[in-house]
């Protein structure tokens, strides 16, 4: 028999929450800076503050009450959700094939128009980037906040090679990957000795430096105007008309992404992949077994960068135009969020997270202004709910099997 409904406690709790919300909301919601010809002045919106306080108070009360009411039951909502997600993990292999099947036939499905395929292409780029970053962050445990730099190098490499030397996309693709990898290697050498959070901030700093250089080295990169007129890929000489090109590009990125996936899965089963995971688990133990942590970190870093380079080249060719605007820190944050939210090391998790974080906002373009706010909020909320990621259980790469 459940205890009596703690009305008084919940009411006080809600009241406190409401008061704090009101205080937090007062300066920024209650007032608005108005810039007019006479200069800066203030407008008031105290009703917004009242609403904020009411919503927070009401929400706290409702949540508290719900928790109390359901505490007697066997399955609480969070528990039910947990079971659901766990069952997702159980059907993982089949789910993977199902997703591939859907992806392969997407352009031919009844509801797919050019818009849908276009958005799916965008999601696939992020999936590919997520799988690439997964090698660095998920497997090797390196906190890379500057992944967008490798992406940018790949994009600009292709753009410059194609517009200046008229090389074909297929030739430039491996070159872009190579250049990105080399770039990561040169940058990585000095900084990969750093511990955890320091590595994060340094990679962030490097990525920002790259962006500033791209912005200011006008003679090479075109500065803020970027590079335009980037040629689209052809298939054995066949040039596609814009309508078919969307579908063609979709299949190109699908192929690239799947290749990345196979590559990453393969690596995981090889000594290098296991060494990366061991490095993530305990660096000192690695040293005691004769593994050189610096070499491992560099190899993880460069491999991830190579994948980013491929993705960058594709991005450049799809857009036809690139500028430093597309390579800000937010991109690194999105890709990192996709990896962490998906559950590090989980390939399907990355797909789900990309659909969630990139696909949904794309579909709700009308709410453009709230898109980033929702994105940031989603990052915080998902971390609070499932800090290890949505699908985070680990499968061993090699088994002894039943006895």
């Amino acid at each position: 028999m459940a205890a009596a409904f703690p009305l008084r406690r919940l009411a006080i709790d809600a009241l406190l929450g409401g008061l704090i919300a009101a205080a937090l909301a007062l300066p920024m919601l209650g007032f608005r800076l108005v810039d007019s010809s006479q200069g800066l002045s203030l407008a008031t919106r105290f009703d917004w503050v009242a609403w904020a306080a009411l919503i927070v108070a009401g929400g706290r009360f409702a949540l508290g009450g719900l928790r109390h009411v359901l505490s007697g039951r066997e399955l609480r909502p969070p528990e039910a959700a947990r079971v659901f997600v766990a069952s997702l993990g159980a059907i993982r292999p089949k789910a993977g094939w199902a997703l591939i099947a859907i992806a392969a036939t997407l352009p031919f499905l009844p509801f797919s128009d050019r818009n849908v395929v276009d958005k799916a292409t965008m999601v696939l780029i992020y999936v590919m980037l997520g799988w690439g970053l997964n090698i660095v962050v998920g497997l090797a445990g390196l906190l890379d906040l500057g992944f967008v730099a490798s992406y940018a190098v790949g994009a600009y490499s292709y753009a410059l090679l194609a517009t200046n030397f008229h090389l074909s996309f297929w030739l430039c693709l491996p070159l872009a990957g190579l250049l990105s990898a080399t770039f990561a290697l040169t940058l990585g050498f000095p900084v990969l000795r750093l511990r955890g959070d320091y590595l994060a901030i340094v990679t962030l700093g490097f990525a920002e430096m790259v962006r500033v250089v791209l912005l200011n080295w006008q003679s090479l990169t075109g500065g803020p105007r970027g590079i335009s007129g980037i040629p689209r890929p052809t298939l054995f000489g066949v040039v596609f008309a814009p309508e078919q090109r969307v579908t063609f590009l979709y299949f190109v990125i699908l192929a690239l992404a799947l290749l990345t996936n196979v590559f990453a899965l393969r690596l995981r089963r090889l000594p290098i992949g296991r060494a990366w995971e061991a490095l993530r688990e305990d660096e000192i133990a690695c040293r005691s077994l004769g593994l050189n942590p610096t070499t491992l970190k560099i190899s993880a870093f460069t491999t991830g960068a190579m994948c980013a380079g491929f993705a960058g080249a594709f991005f450049a060719t799809r857009q036809g135009f690139i500028s430093p605007e597309s390579f800000t820190f937010i991109e690194s944050a999105v890709i990192l969020a996709i990896v962490v939210l998906g559950g590090m090391g989980s390939q399907i998790g990355v797909v789900l997270a990309a659909l969630l974080l990139v696909g949904l906002p794309e579909w709700f373009r009308e709410l453009q202004a709230y898109r980033m706010l929702a994105f940031g909020g989603a990052m915080v909320l998902i971390m609070l709910w499932r800090p290890s990621g949505l699908l985070s259980s680990r499968e061993p790469t090699i088994t002894l099997g039943p006895k």
Partner: protein, 280 residues
């Protein structure tokens, strides 16, 4: 015919003003178990960290005698000592790869061989037989050691989920998978019950006799030390105070004093003496 494997030659390790290891010299031979004992804070783990390259001693030499020649450990990095010096170790606080399986822990230990066989992953990516065969051999070696430490049934479980005693055994098995010449064990019996300690003794003697390598052992558990060591070195405040066969060392007055304090042979204060004499 045993030969000297490790020579510790006037090694000193200082932290700030404190000498953790003070002008220490001794030798460890192969085909033997050498125990390093002493009260807490005597510098034993610091010594280990110097030998295995995690610390760099300020003075002294650490000579490892290989079949191919001598190596100066004091100038080598930790992973090189493990890789080229073939010195393996276990840790006081157990450092397993927690979220990897038992088997994977042992496979990672064979990284060097496997990397070479996979031609830095190329052969592996292409699925060449050369690599898959090497992987099979690695699994066999792992199985051999799993059987030795009785963990075969748990091979596919997460290392972190094993009970404490099993984790300790796994760490030893993992160290042995690197084919070492010298195995350094930091308090392998800590937290083990008497039955597990006896199993450990058997395992270590087995390793000494079957593999013919040298074992260097830090231990507090005297049943292990006295039961299986061939040679004992006693440290106190970073200095060596005794060295020799276990039976000789246990009777050494300096050793007794270090462990029990100054009570033996010390004069009692005059005002207390009469009262204590009545107690007998």
């Amino acid at each position: 015919m045993t030969r000297v494997l490790l020579e510790v030659d006037h090694v000193s390790m200082r932290f700030g003003g404190l000498f953790a290891v003070n002008d220490l010299s001794f030798s460890a031979t192969d085909k033997a178990i050498t125990a390093v004992i002493g009260p807490n804070g005597a510098g034993k783990t610091t010594l280990f960290n110097c030998i295995t390259g995690f610390y760099r001693p300020q003075t002294g030499k650490l000579r490892l005698h290989h079949p191919t020649g001598a190596m100066a450990l004091e100038r080598m990095a930790d992973y090189n000592i493990a890789r080229h010096g073939r010195v393996a170790r276990t840790f006081q606080n157990i450092r397993l790869f927690q979220r990897m399986s038992v088997l994977e822990n042992l496979i990672v230990a064979q990284h060097k061989t496997l990397m070479r066989a996979s031609l830095f992953s190329i052969a592996g990516l292409l699925g060449l037989a050369r690599y898959s065969q090497a992987e099979k051999r690695a699994v066999e070696k792992a199985r051999h050691w799993l059987d030795k430490v009785a963990l075969t049934a748990h091979a596919d479980e997460e290392a972190g989920s094993l009970p404490y005693g099993s984790q300790r055994r796994l760490e030893i098995a993992r160290a042995m998978c690197t084919d070492p010449l010298l195995l350094c064990l930091d308090e392998p019996a800590a937290g083990l019950n008497p039955r597990e300690s006896a199993d450990l003794n058997r395992l270590l003697i087995d390793i000494r006799d079957q593999e013919g390598i040298g074992l260097l052992l830090i231990e507090h558990d005297m049943s292990v030390v006295m039961g299986i060591s061939d040679h004992v070195v006693v440290l106190d405040y970073g200095k060596k105070i005794a060295e020799g066969p276990p039976n000789q060392v246990r009777r050494d007055p300096a050793v007794i004093r270090a462990y029990l304090g100054e009570e033996e042979g010390e004069e009692l204060p005059p005002e207390v003496a009469p009262d204590l004499k009545d107690l007998g």
